[in-house]
């Protein structure tokens, strides 16, 4: 009998954090406004009351300080889970993440591990002001020494946050903020699959559609519409952006011959750029069409009244699917 509960993505992460805090007394959860308030998205709601000020606490509004002290705490044997309040607020910590957190294992030739998790609500679609809707995952996915995860559903969210905390490598954990309240079943007994493996969410034969995080729901919607029109789309949820599971993508492309990659981030030098390049290098003879990318434009994330035109939707994905099929 499996133990299945219905949770939102946000509350699945809360449950995952609660489990990690319970299982390992070295786990600490901190960030701006995460204690009594439970974070601006309430992801840490209740944890301060449950585990106390020594385990779950507010940090000053200083992102470099949050990540820099997380590094020091990890050196002392703790497993810090730090929240950066919004995607666009991560850049004051960029130095500590890319120059220190990512490199300390290497600098010490393995004498030190860096079991630090940085949680980041990311992506747009919530009608927010500037700096609250960005997709900075590409910066971190290309940084050697970091692992990057992004769940798209409650079950993955519950398990992947625990796997991130259990890792002895630093993990950037990108949470799809506009999907925080999307509900789904969570199996509390067993993880769905290995952490860094992509998953085929919907099987198909005509075109492969690879995506992650907040765009997964959009991709599934596009596949549904396409099916009504007689096009069979295989949808892959990447789940991990460093490493990327190219094997699963290649296996699918061998079947479909066509690949579309979608995300909210601008396409220029992005996750989709890398996937496009790698699939062209490694599966060239299986391709019937060029790999096509669907993403944000190469502009700063626009103001709320324009974001609908910036973010890829099911129609924009299907336009690319049609182009791939027309080759």
């Amino acid at each position: 009998m499996s133990n299945i509960v219905e949770l939102s993505i946000a509350k699945a992460i809360t449950a995952g954090l609660r489990k990690a805090l319970t299982d390992n007394e070295k786990v600490l959860v901190f960030g701006q406004d995460i204690a009594q308030l439970g974070g601006v998205f309430r992801v840490t709601e209740g944890l301060h009351a449950e585990f106390g000020q020594k385990r779950v606490f507010n940090s000053p509004i200083a992102e470099a300080g949050i990540v820099g002290t997380a590094i020091g705490l990890a050196m002392r044997g703790y497993r810090p889970v730090a929240e950066i309040q919004f995607d666009g607020f991560i850049f004051p910590a960029f130095n500590q993440i890319t120059s220190q957190l990512a490199k300390l294992q290497n600098r010490s030739e393995g004498y030190m591990n860096m079991p630090v998790v940085i949680r980041v609500p990311y992506g747009g679609g919530i009608g927010a002001v500037e700096h609250h809707s960005e997709s900075p995952e590409g910066y971190f996915a290309r940084t050697a020494g970091l692992r990057v995860l992004s769940p798209s559903n409650p079950n993955d969210a519950y398990w992947m946050i625990q796997e991130a905390i259990a890792s002895t490598d630093p993990v950037m954990f990108f949470e799809p903020k506009r999907r925080y309240w999307q509900k789904g079943p969570v199996n509390l007994d067993a993880p769905p699959q290995p952490t860094y493996q992509a998953r085929v969410l919907r099987e198909g034969t005509n075109v492969t559609l690879a995506t992650y995080g907040p765009m997964v729901a959009t991709a599934l919607q596009a596949a549904e519409i396409a099916a009504e029109e007689g096009t069979s789309i295989e949808v892959i949820d990447l789940r991990s952006l460093s490493p990327i599971d190219f094997g699963t993508i290649i296996n699918s492309v061998k079947k479909t011959g066509r690949l579309v990659v979608a995300h909210e981030d601008s396409t220029n030098l992005s996750i989709s750029s890398e996937i496009s390049a790698r699939i062209t290098e490694e599966a060239f003879y299986h391709l019937e069409a060029p790999v096509l990318r669907v993403g944000g434009f190469d502009v700063p994330y626009p103001s709320a009244k324009l974001e609908e035109m910036f973010l890829p939707d099911a129609d924009r994905i299907l336009e690319a699917v049609d182009r791939a099929l027309a080759y």
């Binding site: 820099g68 020091g72 050196m75 002392r76 290497n106 692992r147």
Partner: protein, 364 residues
């Protein structure tokens, strides 16, 4: 400014500084001789490393000549289980904590990026991006307090953390953030700032309009300025504030006023931005000479100085030979510690490089 030895090597505990002075009462002649030996060792190491760089044996050298009193004194003020988070010029502090000097030369030759064991040595890796280490030290000190290793009264259990910064690094925002986190958490942390008066070509006046020892006050980190060329001041003030930190009094900032007699690094040319007269002024206040004058006043004889001189020559020969004997790092060192768990991108690239190298065949 806290000073116990004047430039003539005359000793005295000024009124009001008795709390520091009592740390000197406990020192024996053997301690004095140890301080001098290590200051001389640091100087000789520096001169030899500089020569090795000039001969192309090191990619870079980072001289610390003139800062021997600040580093050896403060290094010996750190005790027991304490942890040290250096910047990148703390070769003398390394000497006081048994770091193999060849580890430093290996790094500056380009064999690795550090590679000593920070947990075992308690001397953490050099931090080249200025000020970043102050936050690591703060986090570590927060963890020490979380572990309950502060203010228990058990000297074998309690520990404090010391972090080294230069005058230039104090301008970095991360140093200010560390003051805030350390003060908010009442962390057992001492900042030891070597104000050597030059950040490459920028004088301290370009980093601050307020004396550096006052920088932390607004964050809740009190400070004191000491004569950084007085090894006894450096020792006593560090020892006292590390004790206070261990006992739970929170973070403290020590500004050691000293002078960078050499260049910023072997790539620098200080003649472009400072007068020789200024350098001469500080060479006349050489911390090693000052301590030698003190020891001679104490009756230490010529034999000791001759012995130290000979030990310096032996050290020079030893590190020269060891540098020549350094081998190239194996290529797997580039890939092995990027992650602690397997990562396909790294593994695939390493495999590719091995195949590529092998494709040239044996002996080609």
């Amino acid at each position: 400014m806290v000073q116990f030895l004047n430039p003539e090597g005359e000793f005295g505990v000024p009124k009001g500084l008795e709390a520091y002075g009592k740390y000197l009462d406990a020192l024996t002649e053997a301690d004095y001789l140890k301080f001098y030996r290590d200051m001389a060792r640091m100087r000789r190491f520096d001169l030899e490393a500089n020569a090795l760089q000039r001969q192309g044996q090191l990619g870079l050298w980072i001289p610390a000549i003139g800062q021997e009193a600040a580093q050896i004194g403060s290094g010996y003020g750190v005790r027991g289980n304490d942890h040290i988070f250096p910047s990148y010029r703390e070769h003398g502090v390394a000497i006081t904590h048994g770091i193999e000097l060849m580890s430093i030369l290996k790094m500056l030759r380009g064999v690795n990026h550090g590679g000593w064991n920070p947990e075992e040595t308690r001397f953490h890796l050099y931090a080249i991006v200025l000020g970043t280490q102050t936050l690591h030290a703060t986090g570590y000190a927060m963890g020490v307090a979380f572990d309950g290793k502060v203010g228990t009264g058990n000297k074998d259990e309690d520990l404090a953390v010391i972090t080294y910064v230069g005058d230039g690094a104090t301008a970095e925002g991360e140093v200010s953030e560390s003051f805030l986190f350390a003060a908010n958490n009442k962390s057992p942390l001492v900042y030891f700032c070597q104000n050597n008066q030059w950040a490459i070509s920028s004088p301290t006046a370009s980093q601050t309009t307020v004396p550096l020892f006052k920088r932390g006050a607004g964050f809740g980190v009190p400070g004191v300025r000491i004569d950084g060329n007085d090894v006894l001041a450096s020792y006593a003030v560090t020892a006292k504030h590390m004790d206070d930190a261990r006992e739970g009094s929170g973070p403290f900032f020590i500004e050691a006023l000293t002078y960078r007699i050499g260049a910023h690094t072997s790539s620098d040319d200080p003649t472009k931005y400072r007068d020789q007269a200024e350098v001469d002024h500080w060479v006349a206040r050489d911390p090693l000479k000052r301590f030698e004058k003190f020891l001679r006043r104490q009756g230490v004889g010529e034999d000791f100085f001759t012995e130290v001189e000979a030990a310096g020559e032996a050290l020079a020969t030893e590190i020269r030979d060891a540098t020549f004997a350094l081998t190239e790092p194996p290529i797997e060192n580039m890939f092995n510690h990027v992650y602690s768990e397997p990562h396909p991108r790294i593994d695939e690239q390493f495999e590719w490089l091995k195949r590529y190298e092998a494709s040239f065949g044996e002996g080609n």
